[in-house]
């Protein structure tokens, strides 16, 4: 088993850290994991993405053309990766930054107004944690509790005070995604 999650957005939206939280959670739950950023001469405000590969055996390719799960934090990422998600896969879109609906019907696309939800939680920088929560609702490769535990275990002491807000952001993203999935199912 090898599963890939691709997270894409603008630099500064917390793309790389969101992937690291998933990577730590996978490691702590005894799985094998690779986190790999797109790296290049990019600056803040440019595009950024990272791939997290979770497996129960030696990981082969660190990159995948058609990931089963994608988080798109902005419109360019939505446009680029909507076509590339594996059929039957999951696409989590930051609705706050896109102005269109889904084109594909053979994947599950979930829209979460990430910027607004993050601001409600008290800090717009929590966008990435909102979206991680939403992802884990739709693509439960790890449990929300595992992600939370990883955040607590690996956040430096000076940042531990941020934990309650981060948890709240994850919970809200998770609840948003669950509510949408139930609506679709009903």
């Amino acid at each position: 088993m090898q599963k890939e999650i691709l997270i894409a957005g603008f630099g500064g939206q917390g793309v790389l850290f969101a992937g690291q939280v998933l990577a730590y959670a996978a490691m702590d739950s005894g799985k094998i994991v690779t986190w790999i950023p797109s790296y290049g001469p990019e600056m803040r405000g440019g595009t950024a993405n990272c791939t997290v590969v979770v497996a129960d055996e030696e990981i082969g390719s660190p990159l995948v053309k058609n990931p089963p799960a994608v988080i798109a934090l902005n419109l360019p990422s939505f446009d680029k990766y909507e076509d590339l998600v594996q059929p039957g896969g999951v696409l989590i879109v930051n609705q706050s930054m896109v102005d269109r609906t889904a084109k594909r019907t053979d994947i599950t696309t979930i829209f979460v107004p990430g910027n607004e939800v993050a601001e409600e939680t008290g800090d717009r920088r929590l966008l990435n944690m909102v979206m991680v929560g939403a992802l884990l609702a739709a693509y439960p490769i790890l449990s929300l509790d595992e992600a939370k535990a990883a955040l607590k275990a690996h956040l430096p002491a000076k940042h531990q005070k941020l934990i309650p807000n981060n948890y709240a952001a994850m919970d809200k993203g998770y609840a948003h995604a669950k509510a949408q999935m139930e609506k679709v199912a009903a």
Binding site: M27, I36, Y39, G60, S61, P62, V64
Partner: protein, 372 residues
């Protein structure tokens, strides 16, 4: 020790420290700068030497000087920077002192780009500096393997008084994976019968790569070659995947090897009997295992992130007994597993290159991709 999530470049730096690195000399270049950055903090903290030299030429010659004392020394760079080091590397080899050099390869030739590539294979394994000299080259494919091979690189360099290069690409340098670090090795006083560490109460030693008298140089070259025979006999390392019943074998090192592993698993799920041989030492090269495989499999596929460099070594071992096909991506492009799976399908269907260099037919197959 428990596993921690390590970034490739930083893991290499810490593994070198734990292997007893006493002096580091380098010059920044992407995508390996994190190694230098990490050591700029870590080495002084431990009271060890860190020097950011004025250039790669400066760095490699500082390595040369420090290596003569018997200290554990290292430099790291990336493709264009390693090219600049070639003169110094040849001097180190000619002087028979141990040194470790890490090359986090990038797309080339020339200035190229900073994306992952394996196009310095020939430079590392077959060429590089001038003169007849052997060198050990290790090629990790994961963060844990990079850590393990850093420890090994110092031991091998010292045992054989030889350069040990570690070649990887930027994707392994930049990725994070759970990995276990070895214990910190204590720094011990390094006493050899060759190092120049002060000639008090003993006869003076001279380390040099000059042999003005040609017969003496010839003797020296035969001495290096004899040592290389020992390396070839004892230090070949590789990893096998699904080879027991394989009809087809992929050969790939580093990142190309692990991408091929995904393709091999996908092909196995379809019932195609394909296996993977991933060389860990690319010098000494695992000729013998390929020689044996060539006696029982139907075809080979070599996958690399270059225009087909290691391909020649595989063909040398196969000696024309079965077809050897090639598939590569180059210039900083990393292949996806489905590209290699398509090649496995082609080979399993018996579509081999006949009467042509397989690299020529590969170029023909790539036309639709390149002319986009």
């Amino acid at each position: 020790m428990p596993k921690e999530l390590w970034k490739g470049n930083e893991a290499i730096a810490e593994a070198a420290v734990r292997a007893g690195l006493q002096a580091y000399f380098g010059y920044p270049i992407t995508p390996q700068t994190e190694i230098l950055e990490y050591l700029s903090r870590r080495m002084p903290e431990l009271g060890r030497a860190f020097v950011q030299a004025e250039s790669e030429l400066g760095a490699i010659n500082m390595v040369y000087g420090a290596a003569c004392t018997g200290a554990r020394v290292m430099s790291t760079s990336s493709s264009p920077g390693v090219s600049l080091m070639m003169e110094g590397l040849s001097y180190i080899a000619g002087t028979e002192v141990p040194a470790v050099l890490v090359n986090v390869m990038r797309g080339g030739p020339g200035l190229g780009n900073i994306a992952p590539a394996q196009s310095d294979y020939n430079q590392a394994v077959h060429g590089g500096g001038h003169g007849d000299y052997p060198r050990i080259v290790l090629a990790p494919s994961s963060v844990q393997e990079a850590i393990d091979l850093m420890g090994l690189s110092f031991d091998l360099a010292e045992k054989y008084r030889m350069i040990c290069m570690v070649i990887l690409d930027g994707s392994i340098g930049q990725m994070m994976e759970p990995a276990e670090m070895p214990e910190m090795k204590p720094i011990t006083e390094r006493k050899f019968d060759w190092n120049t560490d002060g000639a008090i109460n003993r006869e003076r030693r001279i380390l040099s790569s000059i042999y003005i008298d040609p017969p003496a140089e010839e003797v020296a070259n035969f001495r290096l070659a004899k040592r290389w025979q020992e390396v070839q006999a004892n230090e070949v390392r590789y990893k096998e995947y699904f080879l027991d019943d394989a009809e087809f074998v992929i050969v790939g090192f580093g990142t190309a090897g692990r991408v091929a592993l995904s393709a091999v698993r996908a092909a196995r799920a379809e019932g195609i009997k394909v296996g993977l041989l991933r060389p860990i030492t690319v010098s000494p090269y695992p000729y013998e295992v390929i020689d044996q495989l060539a006696g029982r499999v139907s075809a080979f596929l070599v996958t690399e992130m270059n225009m087909g460099q290691m391909f020649d070594d595989v063909r040398l071992a196969v000696r024309g007994r079965v077809p050897v096909e090639f598939y590569g991506r180059t210039g900083g492009v990393v292949p996806f597993p489905d590209e290699i799976l398509a090649e496995i399908h082609r080979i399993a269907a018996g579509q081999w290159s006949v009467d042509r260099d397989p690299r020529d037919s590969w170029q023909t197959r790539m036309a639709s991709v390149i002319e986009r």
